[in-house]
Symmetry: C2
Subunit: 360 residues, 2 copies
């Protein structure tokens, strides 16, 4: 064993154990932790996988290597849709995913990822950190032995890629579209058909006609997938995902074994990563949008107001039904919908009024 290895593997406290000065808190403070972070994304996937990497890096660096966090892409250790269970069981100490993947555990998880006509990134974080959202999220995951944290946001997404023009609500009838979650339920009520196809197969499905349309994320991720080659129209805005939150999952038992300073490092890193992702998407989306418009001559079109009005009406119904599925869903719905009412009032005279003024 090399001397450096010995120093790394031996806590400083144990070196001093012969003196009267060693205390349990110092022993704990110098213990080495090796954590695994399983993710719902392909390794290094832009925006999402890279955010998991950043989060792991920040924790490792701030802890001076006392926690080493190793990131696993989807399927490397567990498949994407088993991330929650892996963290719950302690197979991995951390996870990085989106809460709507776990609606099989509880319908209410969907409130912590994306709600059609819901909150924007900025509003969502305001609700989580200052509107009681975080407390409710912790309560929801508590029975699973998981501590959640917000670790990123994609911002307003795009409505998606379509092979036909959408001029009125009837154009959605019979449309075969990949659109998951609550947005998918809204499309079904508008007469469309939702198809569940993994990201990697969307391109060929659009090409073959198995799909008429797909939503994905926004220009940054969509450009990389090359959808502009197989779909004519790129619609906005992303009514179904106005501010999709990504989550860090932390195994509660592993967290409780950390000394307080490392606990603070883990949670603070999540908050910093949360700031980072929305910044990355905001910057990269606009670069990618330029490439799509100027280089690939993509037709970027707005969904007509009448279509949006109808989708909003259907969304309200779908979200209200979700609220009534169980008491926890109702409790979260009541909190977020009260917050939403107020934040829209403020948003109308701040963000919206300013953005309108700037575009006059």
């Amino acid at each position: 064993m090399k001397r450096r290895d010995f120093i790394q593997k031996t806590s400083i406290a144990s070196l001093a154990a012969g003196t009267t000065l060693a205390t349990p808190s110092i022993a704990k403070a110098n213990t080495q932790f090796k954590w695994k972070m399983v993710t719902a994304w392909p390794k290094n996937f832009p925006g999402l996988g890279t955010n998991a990497n950043l989060l792991a890096k920040m924790i490792t660096e701030m802890s001076g290597g006392r926690i080493k966090v190793k990131v696993y892409g989807a399927k490397e250790l567990v498949p994407a849709f088993e991330v929650f269970d892996a963290v719950s069981k302690g197979t991995a100490e951390m996870g990085h995913s989106g809460a709507y993947y776990w609606k099989g555990k509880s319908e209410a998880t969907q409130f912590f990822s994306a709600v059609p006509f819901g909150l924007t990134a900025q509003e969502m974080n305001a609700w989580l950190y200052y509107g009681g959202g975080m407390e409710l999220w912790r309560e929801l995951y508590k029975p699973f032995g998981i501590i959640p944290a917000a670790t990123g946001n994609s911002g307003v997404q795009m409505a998606g890629w379509f092979n036909r023009e959408i001029n009125n609500i009837n154009d959605l009838k019979g449309l075969k579209m990949r659109i998951p979650g609550l947005g998918g339920e809204v499309l079904r009520r508008a007469g469309g058909t939702t198809v569940n196809i993994p990201g990697g197969e969307l391109f060929t499905s659009l090409q073959s006609g198995a799909l008429d349309a797909t939503e994905w994320v926004g220009p940054y991720n969509d450009l990389a997938f090359g959808f502009y080659k197989v779909a004519k129209y790129y619609y906005y805005p992303g009514w179904h995902e106005p501010g999709s939150t990504m989550e860090a999952l932390i195994n509660e038992k592993a967290f409780n074994e950390l000394p307080k300073d490392l606990q603070a490092c883990v949670l603070t890193a999540c908050k910093a990563a949360n700031m980072d992702m929305i910044s990355e998407y905001t910057a990269r989306n606009n670069q990618a949008l330029n490439t799509l418009i100027n280089k690939h001559k993509v037709k970027v079109l707005p969904l007509p107001d009448d279509v949006l009005r109808k989708l909003k009406q259907l969304s309200d119904e779908v979200v209200l039904e979700l609220a009534n599925k169980d008491p926890m869903s109702k409790k979260i719905y009541d909190s977020v919908s009260q917050f939403r009412t107020q934040v829209i009032q403020w948003g109308d005279i701040s963000e919206l009024a300013f953005l309108k003024a700037r575009s006059l």
Copy 2:
């Protein structure tokens, strides 16, 4: 000296100094640092002073107390407008302020706080973290021995409190208003007079008629000052400060003396604090707005489009003149204005389009 005190004040490495295992890196890793953070705000001032407190707390907690950061309100150690010099000289290791206060050092500082008709909070952070802004900011402060970091954002502010209605641009002629910075220059070009009055005297100045109008921040801070008692009209949007960034100043020499893990703690804490402040303002502004409207019956009015168009035209002139003051200002202007053009294009089909759709 109590045993705990002895342990706190003595580095672990020095305890082990008699052994062959002590190394410089361990010695450095266990050194105690006592840092002072001077601020441009009254102690505990909501949103701003509380963010300084949070930042200090996060650094102290994540470091396990190896850096203890003590926060000083304005005037406690140095006056508000000497924060920059205090950090530059090393009187304090950190500062918490707004970059536009330092235009006497360099006109270009103003690009890192608030620019009329400039970037929103989300866009500003995108430019800083992913658009080259942070690198330029570091370059700007380098000659002063200061490392800057974004540590918060107030979001879109309000246009301010007025004792008369603003129906057209001529209503701004002769208006005596407290509005600092670039926004103030715009008002002067619109025929108004700017008056420089400290925050604490604004209420009585409005009451006595020494002022016709004042901008401050937004509902959260404005409600606390009671302006609703002495001004009839509350105008929006805050065209002059659409996303005011707050800064952490770090003395470069003090930073370089930290081991790498603590350096990471300091910078990551700033990024997390940056996420926290905009969340706090977004949540609290909407609560306060409700109180202003429903309890105090405040008339909340939009500035007419024609007035906004004229203010925007004047703002473009003012900002362009700033760009031409020196090569560094030009370099920063070129970066931010190119980013702005693209981000507006993306914002028009994402945030703006979604907010409009939600309000249909």
